[in-house]
Symmetry: C2
Subunit: 348 residues, 2 copies
């Protein structure tokens, strides 16, 4: 037991005014002490602190929030199946980054997971009914009402990834996916490859489209016309990468380079190439995307495009903090695009 409970049998949590009475001061003074106002005499402060300790007083946040209209907490909404949340290094890195940016501030971070329509509804209620001061939205689904609901409720929000279509005026942070696709392709070109295929992500995701566009940019820059037969879509998983690569090889036996739009898919593609008897990078050079930890341990180690996940996370936190601190003047339209970078290893 860390607190002395009063002799009464039942448990009663002392209120601020009870503390005030016991300390011989007014409620206002106790409030000042609790909130660290400088306008309190040392004597009063001491008396109040003693009373607080003796009675085991804990402020009631609901009452406080009711009047201050803020909760000092911000939510990270993870709207993905949890097997992805707990396995995809992307989420881990983002949560880590945001969490450490928020750690030293006064804000408390809470994680909310959505994996069913009912949970979506509950989270919508949770964030709009005043439990949080701000929210970070990770990977929203198409048709997600959250951005609009949050905008209506005037709740500061930052999204990860460029929002699609209607989700209008929200600030967001994204990697330069198009630029990344381009540098990957340019690299393949620069090492002399000319018959370059690509495995894309699911084309209903903005990031996948952007990376593909970057691939096209690269080809066109070298005077090559992208062709349909050299493109195959996966769903960012390792298995789909293997399938896509197999299909690509069947259609284009002579391809000598491939840009795979995610590292897990690249791992799968590597397997497919191995099974097909192609040597990497001698026969086919391969560039991935993400630079997950495993990429360095692949056979051969993966040349890949790194997105600065830590920096992206930090930027999201920063953007949210900015909205949180000067809401009045904030126009809510900021966005940050983080540049990507080629990590050269062996596969290309």
């Amino acid at each position: 037991m860390t607190a002395l409970t009063p002799g009464t049998g039942s448990h009663h949590r002392p209120t601020l005014s009870e503390v005030a009475r016991s300390a011989g001061v007014s409620a206002a003074t106790v409030s000042r002490v609790v909130n660290g106002s400088p306008r309190v005499s040392p004597a009063a402060r001491e008396a109040v602190e003693a009373a607080i300790a003796a009675m085991g007083y804990v402020p009631n946040r609901a009452a406080r929030s009711l009047v201050t209209r803020q909760t000092d907490t911000i939510a990270v909404v993870l709207s993905e199946p949890e097997e992805r949340i707990f396995s995809d290094p992307f989420f881990a890195a983002m949560v880590r980054g945001i969490s450490s940016a928020v750690a030293e501030t006064e804000w408390q971070l809470v994680l909310l997971m959505i994996q069913s329509p009912l949970e979506r509804l509950k989270v919508e209620r949770y964030v709009t009914q005043g439990h949080v001061d701000g929210v970070v939205l990770m990977s929203l689904h198409s048709g997600d009402r959250l951005p609009d609901l949050l905008a209506d409720a005037r709740i500061p929000t930052v999204m990860s990834g460029r929002p699609t279509g209607t989700a209008g005026f929200v600030s967001y942070v994204d990697a330069d996916n198009r630029g990344g696709g381009r540098i990957a392709t340019d690299h393949l070109l620069s090492i002399g490859r000319t018959r370059i295929a690509t495995v894309t992500g699911p084309m209903d995701m903005v990031a996948a489209v952007d990376r593909f566009d970057g691939y096209c940019d690269g080809l066109r820059g070298a005077g090559i016309r992208p062709t349909k037969t050299m493109v195959e879509a996966g769903d960012f998983t390792d298995h789909s990468g293997e399938q896509a690569m197999t299909a690509l090889l069947r259609r284009n036996p002579d391809l000598d380079g491939v840009f795979v739009a995610s590292d897990p898919m690249a791992m799968g593609a590597l397997r497919a190439l191995d099974k097909a008897g192609r040597r990497v990078p001698d026969d086919v050079a391969l560039v991935g995307f993400d630079d997950i930890a495993m990429a360095a341990y692949a056979h051969p180690p993966l040349t890949t495009v790194r997105q600065p996940l830590d920096q992206m996370a930090a930027s999201m936190a920063e953007l949210l903090m900015a909205q949180l601190s000067d809401e009045s003047t904030y126009d809510g339209l900021d966005h940050i695009i983080c540049s990507t970078e080629l990590v050269r290893r062996v596969s290309a």
Copy 2:
């Protein structure tokens, strides 16, 4: 925009009594409608619902909590470095299980992470100041004040893992670690092994001690005295398992069986055995603990002790719900020990 905002330039969130006025009823009636009370005439209900929709009314939870004294949210406190949270399948499974048990209820689940003393303090404040109705505590550190603070604050709590020493009257859910250690050892004995070593977890963790005790039980049951040279401690990581196994082999070149207290460590041990030229299971039979997904794909596939993670998670949720629903009569002393089971594959 999903709601019609009033023509006034500035944003004003309508209150319950404004809705009441607009609907031509009293605040009490609006409250009844919002909270789904049956004691409302269809006409009134309709009027209120129309007003709510028209004004975009969203109830204020702080005000509600202030009077009802509950928040309808429960927290899962993850007190571990996030690299473990996001990599150790144990946490993923627990969070998944708890989350799905809570999903269909009225409660909202929030995840709180602690990875620094400051964050610990903030979380302590968060949970005691009335943000949550109940908490699930995952893997508390020794000297953690949370259990005591929560007990003082009379906040229903369930811990994962048997609490150490002082953390008195809290309900918890744990695997039968001792029993698991025993069945692992018994199995090794049953396949004719007699010189059985063990790699334990960190001995300041209850689970590690329990598994070790089970190992001793097994040996003693077969009339064998456990000896110090056959015991080496790791820290549950793969790397430490390799080191420990190497040490064990050096000291006991003739050992023919080993119980490794976690699967990641078992993977490391497998490497050490391989490097030392021992065949598994022919020369040395090995049993792990946890049955992580990777265990089935090890070389050779791992015989291991499975803890029913899903069931443990469900039990934690269940225990918490029980406390949440009939707090008055609840004595807070329940605990559930989930039995473990041997999964036989190739390594033993």
